[in-house]
């Protein structure tokens, strides 16, 4: 825990100095880009998940700093339902593209667009205007019981030897499921999938001894991990997380390169929003994202910043690349034709 604090302090210091200079640039750009007639009313940041959750916290922190840098009022609105489906459909089909509605969403939207939208909208109906952060899905194991010291490799071996005994928490129809599926296909292991409504619920079940492996994000298990009730054992990212230096990646543990599942959080507006307003909204978010305080807050939550997306000029292209890679996965696994 102490290591984390020092790391955070160093990181913040590193980011602070050049960031301060960048802040002034960002603020100047913001003033330059502001359209005359906009905004005249509060801007709505739509979050498609319930209040208090990881996405909601991200959005509220962002709103706090955007308000600080740009002086326009922001109202964070939760449009929940259908595990995000209702909110995504609203943003893509009903929200007026006048710049007053900004969606703070995650790449989970792509799954909804490709698998569940039934042709009514596609992910290109939502245009990204700013990248926030990324969060890698992490496997978490118990600190009590027969599995308490096992690594991912050992647990997978157990699942191969005794199929149908290892209980793994999952969230049906999403990357939680896909990661388990990949592991099972590649290693021949067979686990018991226990469905939950979110990663957090699965981690709580793990702490209570009701499942053996849970999947979630750092912000969801950090409190329990620090207290020694659970321990992270594998990260589904391309490299180790800076604050979980001792936790191997799933690729390291199991070999190969395909165990990469992460949440990308970004802001969008409905297609067709006026270009000047889009540019202004994007600039406002960029200004906030350069604020070292906001960066520090985000880092505390255990996110990382994907270098492919932090450059605004390449952000949209790379996001689309990720989206198409996900589509390829769906086609390969038979979920899409």
């Amino acid at each position: 825990m102490k290591k984390n604090t020092i790391a955070l302090a160093l990181l913040s210091a590193l980011l602070a100095t050049p960031a301060a200079a960048q802040n002034d640039d960002a603020k100047a750009e913001l003033v330059r880009l502001k359209p005359n007639d906009f905004p005249t009313a509060p801007i709505e940041y739509t979050v498609v998940y319930p209040a208090g959750g990881g996405m909601d916290v991200t959005a509220r922190l962002l709103a706090k700093y955007v308000e600080k840098w740009s002086d326009h009022r922001i109202i964070v609105n939760n449009r929940t339902g259908g595990a995000g489906m209702v909110g995504h459909a609203y943003l893509a089909t009903q929200a007026k593209p006048d710049g007053y509605t900004v969606g703070i969403i995650a790449n989970l939207m792509w799954g909804d667009a490709m698998l569940r939208a039934q042709g009514r909208w596609t992910y290109t109906d939502l245009e990204p205007i700013g990248y926030l952060n990324s969060d890698a899905l992490t496997w978490v194991g118990p600190t009590e019981g027969p599995y308490k010291d096992m690594s991912v490799k050992q647990l997978v071996e157990t699942a191969k030897d005794k199929p149908g005994t290892l209980r793994v928490a999952t969230v049906p129809g999403s990357m939680w499921d896909y990661l388990i599926e990949q592991v099972e296909t590649n290693t021949g292991a067979k686990v018991l999938r226990v469905p939950f409504q979110g990663g957090g619920a699965g981690i709580n079940a793990l702490a209570g001894g009701n499942v053996d492996i849970a999947q979630g994000f750092y912000s969801e298990f950090r409190g329990l991990a620090d207290a020694g009730k659970v321990r992270p054992i594998g990260v589904a990212a391309s490299e180790r997380l800076s604050f979980l230096k001792d936790t191997p990646t799933m690729n390291e543990a199991l070999g190969g390169n395909e165990y990469q599942w992460f949440v990308i959080r970004f802001a969008v507006v409905p297609k067709g929003a006026p270009e000047d307003r889009k540019a202004y909204l994007g600039a406002a978010i960029r200004a906030a994202m350069k604020d070292p305080e906001l960066v520090a807050e985000y880092l505390k939550a255990g996110v990382y910043f994907d270098p492919k997306l932090t450059d605004p000029s390449r952000m949209q292209a790379n996001l689309n690349a990720y989206a198409e890679a996900e589509r390829a996965f769906y086609v390969k696994t038979g979920r899409l034709k």
Binding site: A51, G52, R60, A63, T80, A83, V194, N204, A205, L224
Partner: protein, 493 residues
Amino acid sequence: MEAIGGLLTGFGVILTLDNLFVCFLGSMIGTLVGVLPGVGPLAALALLLPITFTMTPVGGMVMLASIFYGAMYGGSTTSILLNIPGEAASVVTCLDGHQMAKQGRAGAALGIAAIGSFVAGTLGVIVMTFFAPTIATVAIRFGPPENFALMVLGIVCTLFMITGSPVKGALMVALGFLAAAVGIDVVNGRERFTFGSVDLSAGIELLAVVIGLFGVTEVLNNVEKVVKSTLVAERIRGLWPTVADWRASWRPMLRGSGLGFLLGLVPGGGPVTASFMSYALEKRLSAHPDGFGKGAIEGVAGPESANNAAVAGSIIPVLSLGIPSNAVTALLLGALVIHGVQPGPLFITQRPDLFWGIVASMYVGNVLLLVLNLPLVGLWVQFLRIPYRVLFPIVLLLSIVGVYSANKNVFDLWVMLGFGVAGYVLSKLKYDLAPFVIAFVLAPLLEQSLRQSLAMSPDGAMIFVQRPGTALMLVSSAILVALMVRRKPKGGS
């Protein structure tokens, strides 16, 4: 005893002018939110969360927590006066509370509700003070099989609440299950009964159902009669509970406190479930169960205590472990994070000022709320004197805003209207509406925990026997059903 030390720290933190003011403000807002039909603590907390950013973490959390339990105080007011629930946890209070109001005893009902809430809230916080970490460690072991057994117990309790024809009651319970199935099946992500509608894929909103079935139906029933200018024709007989009321109420209050506290601890439990089960428990234990639904004060004392105790119960896992048991506590958790606090088992040792400050604020808040609410009884009762022709449009307008505030979706207003008309028609044909709502609330939890239990069990259904807590609860349910069947020839039709 370190708990006493912690508590003293907490009082030291809370008894400053700033924090006291914030506690008071939150309690008032919570009461107001509870009174307004439809707008519940979840909506209020979501709306007011940004305001807490400018406060210190202690101030912000104290305010949010006080809104939560304040709403449980206020929720009974419209239930009793207008037969319209302030939020879902106050639905059962309508059943007997409003009947009491019609008999001119609104004051007594409101008084008992306030006092029951105070007793339960305070008892809950006392238990929290001394036993929070221990309780939390036990509560975390509550897994899907235990949840399932608890929900079965809940459904069995629902059967006790059925008045009138058991066939119609069973039909309403089954309808509740059916309505609850609309939406996405959380266990495998598939859509059920949505027929391609995005709105339906989110499921049917509980608040719209509750306000429709109990609010709109009530208004429709009332405007049909040429209502004498005011809603309650009876002269209002005194504002305070009588000695007889006290004697009848004190045991339900204690039982409600205990039951509510326990139900607050478990995931998916909380004030709503606690209020239903307390009502059913009181009816089961009462010497005159037929009096329920006609103005039995036990039907107010028990549930109102239960929903307040459930608040204390549900805050324990959040503060002790960083684990939320329902949507409101999930929001409180998010608020902690935004304030830069890391929730989790180490929270109590890392930030004792914050932990004990919140606990101490609950003592203070409960006292404040009692002091606020008792004198207000006299004021609320005056509302009954407003001519109904003025009252009902305002109530409907507030209901519309309240329902809309849940998901910001106009579709919910149609749901409200639809259930209102359906409830109106069904009540004319002597169908009981409460069992539908309870089944609607419990069914998803029951189904989910059953399927989760089976998914996590290598031995299939044996898991229900292998785990002691589960087995115990299931056996209790079976016994209760047997008792019920045996009692029937004496009681129902």
